[in-house]
């Protein structure tokens, strides 16, 4: 399969290792990955902040970059960006009265998948350890992000994949379905409330005793990781793609001091 990678702006600029990991996973499964060069951002920040007019060129750019027959499916290592491509892009096009853009955006959305969705539903990955050679000997807790959970209805796809990683020790996160408080510009416009939500999320992560918190959205992980770091916690965050891409020979590089888990894998 020819798979177009939508790296998303935040992964592209801040977490290139996540995009590289995504490429490695897909290539390991024998697929060809292409990177449409015109791509930039899904425009979610503009839409969610009410700047629809400013979102139009961003959406149009994404549609132009991905509106080609040059690939079979597109994938992004981010639930919220995929949700934006699928749900917001047609809406933005409609808001500016561009029916042609709306039709193209809808078509692009239909071909776009979140990483775990693609792996499980399209590429038939049921056992990451066996099929991808995933090996990650650490105690990890998992945060399902709101948009993956409620807009994309990813269900347990991400955690199922995670549980099949060799050597991993999964600690269930209390109140996992609670928002981490990021919410894009919400974290700045309502910084106090956002911080209060983050505090509780960070405390729950800490309570698991995990070395790492993982998930499928770089932005939520940046938020949770940023909070843990500010509180002086030794727990860090790492994107699910990097855990899946991690193998015995090529372990994922983890920032901070992370001990190698000696505990038995709980599977």
């Amino acid at each position: 399969m020819r798979i177009a990678l939508f790296a998303t702006c935040i992964v592209d600029a801040m977490y290139p290792a996540t995009a590289k990991a995504t490429v490695r996973i897909l290539e390991r499964l024998g697929h060809e990955v292409v990177f449409p060069e015109g791509q930039a951002c899904c425009g979610q920040m503009h839409v969610n902040s009410g700047y629809l007019k400013e979102a139009v060129p961003v959406v149009a750019n994404h549609v132009a970059a991905f509106d080609t027959a040059d690939y079979d499916v597109a994938v992004a290592p981010s639930g919220s960006c995929v949700a934006s491509v699928k749900h917001q892009h047609p809406m933005v096009a409609r808001s500016c009265g561009d029916a042609a853009l709306e039709a193209r955006a809808t078509a692009v959305g239909a071909k776009t998948y979140e990483l775990s969705e693609l792996l499980v539903d399209v590429l038939g990955v049921t056992d990451a350890g066996a099929q991808l050679g995933s090996y990650f000997p650490h105690r990890v807790t998992y945060h399902p992000s709101c948009h993956g959970m409620r807009l994309l209805r990813l269900g347990d796809r991400q955690s199922r994949l995670l549980r099949t990683v060799q050597g991993i020790d999964i600690a269930d996160l209390p109140e996992a379905d609670q928002c981490c408080g990021f919410g894009g510009t919400f974290s700045m416009k309502n910084a106090d409330v956002s911080s209060a939500m983050l505090q509780d999320k960070a405390a729950n992560v800490e309570a698991t005793g995990a070395e790492l918190c993982t998930g499928g959205d770089a932005s939520c992980l940046m938020h949770i990781g940023g909070g843990l770091s500010r509180q002086g916690s030794s727990t860090t965050t790492l994107h699910l793609a990097e855990i899946l891409a991690s193998t015995m020979e090529e372990p994922a590089s983890v920032t901070g001091e992370v001990r190698v888990s000696t505990g038995k894998a709980l599977r």
Partner: protein, 508 residues
């Protein structure tokens, strides 16, 4: 909008207790500082949330019920004027009297006038959001009429001269000990030995209320539903105090928003399943009272209904926002909202707090109302409210819609554009082309300079400072993915066939 429901020109927007006195972030900051409030709220919302989840999961057809509820409400909004006329005809035929009120002031005047006609100076009240919205108690007081709340939680709030902070559990922000103290201080004849045990407190309130029920000649209520085909009104409640008010007095005055209609008796079936499970987490509410006009020799003989617009036609005119009028005031959205859970209801500055309040208040009163315009931003858009809403109001989408109405209404009105305006414009340029973003990313190494020796950015200027108030940002990487990819694929054939790469290189 010039005419509606055959009435003269309407005031477009509502009035009364719908406006915030200060912006949400400011109010939230103050409320967040109240540790007791946060503990009370966290405990209460979690309890009721779990209860709701349990009874909702029992129903295999819950999603179909939600769809049905949503579809019925949509059909009501599509033919509201006709249904209201049908209801009026049937209610009047059974001996009830209908009054139309455009806004809070008119509604208050009508109710006060009706009370005055009875010659009474006291009324008992059934818990009602509509009368809170119009500030009826305060208005009646000005007119020399005393209104006594009979719902236990409303009573607590009223005795404490406080404001409700939740639509179902108005005193959710208070704990047992606080309630005992309020009773001791404010309730005439309260036993000085009162403990903070819930049954003891309930008994004290009961005794206090019983005296009122037996003497009151006039009651004021709201209504949960109005059935157009029979002219029937319905109130659902848990304590039975409502039923006392609805049956004992001689005069009954109901104030109801015009959106509460249902077309037929049969439609009630859907909502009697949706409402109790969503609101109190019960399979069925303990008391359901239905009345159709006047029944000779039984119950109030003087029955009135004030139909309240107060901004509802303005909300109806907003195509994207109108479904907010589907709301059956169950409070499920606030019980699952992470923002409400931390700030409480007072931060929203309106009778309607939480997610529904964040859209309903601006829809009813207009987004231009300055302090109100911060409400649509009081959400992380996590979507929990939409999932919980029994009538499937897509609150997150309406929040986003109202944000865009707010942004558009302010375009070009500021002498100096806000930081947000400037930032969004710049970001629109940077993010609308791969080339632009690539250029910006060339600055990533600069970002590394901003980071300290621990490779973390700890302080940002301007509104971004909200982020660094409690979060670090990792130092950006030396190279963006885009640049890495371009370098990797420089030698690739134009077909862009993926070259084999050493996996090691893909590590940062």
């Amino acid at each position: 909008m010039t005419t509606f429901l055959g009435m003269p020109a309407l005031p477009a927007f509502g009035s009364g207790n719908l406006f915030a006195g200060e912006s949400f972030p400011k109010a939230a900051h103050r409320e967040l500082g109240n540790a007791q409030l946060r503990a009370n709220l966290g405990h209460a919302t979690h309890t009721i949330r779990d209860k709701r989840q349990a009874v909702v999961s029992e129903l295999p057809d819950w999603e179909q019920l939600r769809d049905a509820g949503s579809a019925i409400k949509e059909s009501v909004m599509a033919r509201l004027p006709d249904l209201l006329e049908e209801f009026e005809k049937n209610f009047t035929a059974r001996g009830g009297v209908i009054h139309w009120a455009r806004d809070a002031r008119e509604a208050n005047e009508i109710v006060a006038g009706l009370v005055r006609e009875t010659g009474e100076t006291e009324v008992v009240k059934v818990k009602s959001m509509a009368t809170q919205e119009i500030g009826l108690n305060e208005y009646l007081e000005e007119q020399g009429i005393e209104a006594f709340e009979t719902d236990l939680a409303e009573l607590i709030v009223q005795l404490d001269h406080d404001k409700p902070s939740h639509i179902l559990v108005p005193a959710i922000h208070k704990n047992r000990t606080e309630i005992r103290d309020i009773f001791l201080r404010e309730m005439p004849g309260a036993d000085p030995a009162l403990t903070n045990e819930p049954p003891v407190l309930a008994m004290a309130a009961r005794e206090h209320l019983r005296r009122k029920f037996l003497t009151a000649k006039v009651a004021v209520s709201g209504a949960n539903f109005a059935l157009a085909d029979s002219g029937t009104l319905a109130v659902v409640e848990s304590e039975g105090n409502g039923r006392m008010c609805l049956t004992l007095p001689e005069t009954l005055i109901t104030v109801m928003g015009i959106e509460k209609l249902l077309p037929t008796w049969q439609d009630l079936e859907v909502f009697m399943q949706l409402l109790p499970r969503s609101s109190t987490g019960e399979r069925m509410n303990p008391y359901t009272s239905l009345w159709t006009g006047v029944t000779e020799g039984d119950g109030p003989q003087n029955v009135h209904l004030v139909l309240l617009d107060n901004g509802r036609s303005a909300a109806l005119a907003d195509e994207m926002g109108r479904s907010a009028l589907h709301c059956i005031r169950c409070s499920a959205c606030m019980n699952v909202c992470p923002v409400y859970e931390r700030t409480g209801g007072h931060a929203y500055g309106s009778t309607y707090p939480g997610p529904i309040g964040a859209i309903l208040s601006p829809l009813l009163t207009g987004i231009e109302a300055e302090e109100n315009s911060s409400l649509p931003y009081a959400s992380s858009l996590c979507g929990a409210c939409y999932d919980a809403c029994p009538v499937k109001i897509n609150i997150p989408d309406i929040l986003v819609h109202l944000r865009s109405v707010d942004v558009d209404s302010k375009r070009g009105t500021r002498k100096v554009p806000s930081q947000m305006d400037v930032g969004m414009k710049a970001a629109s340029w940077a993010l609308s082309s791969g080339k632009h973003l690539g250029l910006v990313e060339k600055g990533l190494p600069l970002g590394r300079l901003a980071a300290g020796r621990d490779k973390k950015i700890k302080k940002l200027p301007g509104i971004a400072g909200g982020w660094t108030q409690s979060r670090d940002i990792p130092a950006p990487p030396t190279q963006s993915f885009r640049d890495w990819w371009a370098k990797e694929h420089k030698s690739a054939a134009p077909s862009q066939a993926a070259p084999s790469r050493d996996d090691k290189e893909t590590q940062q």
